[in-house]
Symmetry: C2
Subunit: 354 residues, 2 copies
């Protein structure tokens, strides 16, 4: 409780891409995740790890579903945001800025309100209305900028100049990454509490904070990390092939949370060292997994979470008998969910060729 | 484990309405529920008790949501069915028959398959296709008979005559009632494990097994029981007024699980003695609660469960600070869920006059 994170925090040094993203990850390790977990206890829900007979049967493995769709703010991102905002509030910050595809923004808005700090968030112009509504409800100011990560990063730089607020990078900030890692750490612990050693965890990959956190959480625990990303935006797959983050030409994906077209430097470095596989998932498989979660697990999950579930449904038996799945969030647009449920949504054909 | 239920089991004596429903409830008590809980451990999921900030804010209380929508078979009814079928299988039964609005039938089908017994279930002709599909998937034979409880009871009597199978009554069978009570008992225990004494539990009322089980589970625990039923089918409200079960003129309700137009004798007797309030819920409120569960709690619940949630959202603050809600099941028709999510479903106007 209240243990400082000074070791993991270093001032921006310009070596990484995004404004405010330059906090070094050098001291990030499993112990940092465990400290983050202690600080978050009683502030986030310890979400359940759920089982589902039908999904097990489909996957050929026992799936352990970490239901972060049931988390405060509807996604695991509140974990990292709470720690990052708390740190800034304790350093005399006058306000915070975040760019996000949605969930990090919701999380930062909620955390800023808790600490009485103003918050401005920058979203892509095609962000789901429900996510925008939730951010405004939490009291943050919403701006939109293009549809690409670079557009949002540029807008953040201007806003930072204008307001003098602090930027909380969604993929690089060490508090964010350590905080996001607590979801995977809890998943491993909760399985262990019922006597189960997870062979692997499957996590969705957008900008990379989930997989970065997972890479830290599994240190020394003998658990593999598998990333899942849309075929339409293979940012980590491409980065691993080219040995470094690159901006990919992004196709359309319903997984709005996984639209960042470039993996963060810190997530890349961790993933490059730790992950055992990255799976790309078709739009049909994402839609099908979202439906399966609804019909069989009775869970509302967003397409980003469905991407991880889809990867697990298809490949889990290759990873072992007991496989954890990070159901990262549940902020799905009701109209999208409705059309997926009634089979009216046909994913764009160009995403299914691979 | 393996403790016999012989004491609660007595042969049919014709004193109650349904065929096979005459098993006496005289020895049903909290201890019976606790024995049932021990027998069910490791055979049903210990479903989580969930919290949701937005639903708390709306209700003015802290709601503790027992997520039996996440249970095997998608509802709490697998609890009672497993015990009842196990008992019959141990007595040399050649097969089982059940009538149900859907969830008891799914549960009996799953339980019968586990014990290698054939099962025939009788549903109303307007039963949701998804429930019928799940029953067939579980290997049971499905028949339909009218839309009223009396129609199904008559069909069950004929089938019993024809096949010589044993009938598992959904509202009167003591194993069923004790089993259903374990859901409420777990809810109270799980809250207690985090230091919370529940002031009340809100349960949906159809034929009455949930409220009967709840009445047993709260014995000596200082927890009030509140029933919630659709305004369109006020079977318990009417029975309490007339001092005995009566068949009510049922209007249309989307809560297919709560369509039985008469409360069982045993549930009535227990409810009459124990419940502190019965709330009737409009169709709009049921639809609204189902949407709220989706949007805020990220849970897929069926309209029966939404009826209990609706009652809690409107009245929980009158019952105390900490109020449990039995989210009884999650077998909602995808097309209904989709239309509720997009606001296309307007409940029948005649149900909203009260």
């Amino acid at each position: 409780m209240g243990i400082g994170h000074a070791r993991e925090h270093a001032p921006a040094d310009g070596r990484t891409r995004g404004p405010g993203s330059g906090e070094e990850g050098a001291h990030l390790d499993r112990a940092a995740v465990e400290r983050a977990g202690r600080r978050l206890a009683d502030r986030v829900w310890r979400t359940p790890v759920l089982r589902c007979d039908q999904l097990d049967a489909r996957s050929g493995a026992r799936l352990w579903l970490k239901a972060e769709n049931l988390q405060r703010g509807g996604s695991f991102k509140v974990r990292g945001a709470l720690l990052a905002v708390e740190h800034l509030a304790g350093s005399g910050s006058r306000g915070v800025i975040a760019q996000s595809t949605g969930n990090h923004a919701i999380a930062v808005a909620l955390a800023a309100r808790q600490h009485g700090l103003p918050a401005i968030v920058v979203l892509p112009s095609d962000a789901p209305p429900t996510k925008i509504h939730r951010i405004r409800e939490a009291g943050a100011e919403v701006m939109t900028a293009g549809t690409l990560l670079a557009d949002r990063v540029a807008a953040v730089a201007q806003l930072r100049e204008l307001h003098g607020y602090d930027v909380i990078d969604p993929y690089q900030n060490p508090h964010v990454v350590a905080g996001q890692g607590t979801a995977t750490a809890e998943l491993i612990d909760q399985a262990a509490q019922v006597g189960v050693h997870l062979d692997a965890v499957v996590v969705p990959v957008g900008g990379g904070s989930a997989i970065a956190g997972a890479c830290l959480a599994v240190e020394g625990r003998g658990v593999s990390v598998v990333g899942a990303e849309p075929q339409a935006v293979p940012a980590l797959t491409t980065a691993l092939r080219t040995q470094g983050p690159v901006t990919v030409a992004a196709g359309h994906t319903i997984a709005d949370g996984l639209r960042p077209d470039r993996i963060g430097d810190l997530p890349f470095a961790l993933a490059h060292r730790v992950v055992s596989a990255v799976v790309t998932v078709s739009e049909e498989a994402i839609a099908d997994a979202l439906r399966a979660a609804f019909l069989h697990a009775r869970l509302v999950i967003e397409p980003a979470a469905a991407t991880a579930l889809a990867a697990a449904l298809e490949h889990a038996s290759r990873y072992g008998r007991d496989v954890g799945v990070l159901l990262s969030g549940g902020n799905v647009e009701p109209s999208l969910a409705a059309s997926l449920l009634t089979g009216q949504e046909t994913p764009a054909p160009h995403t299914t060729a691979a």
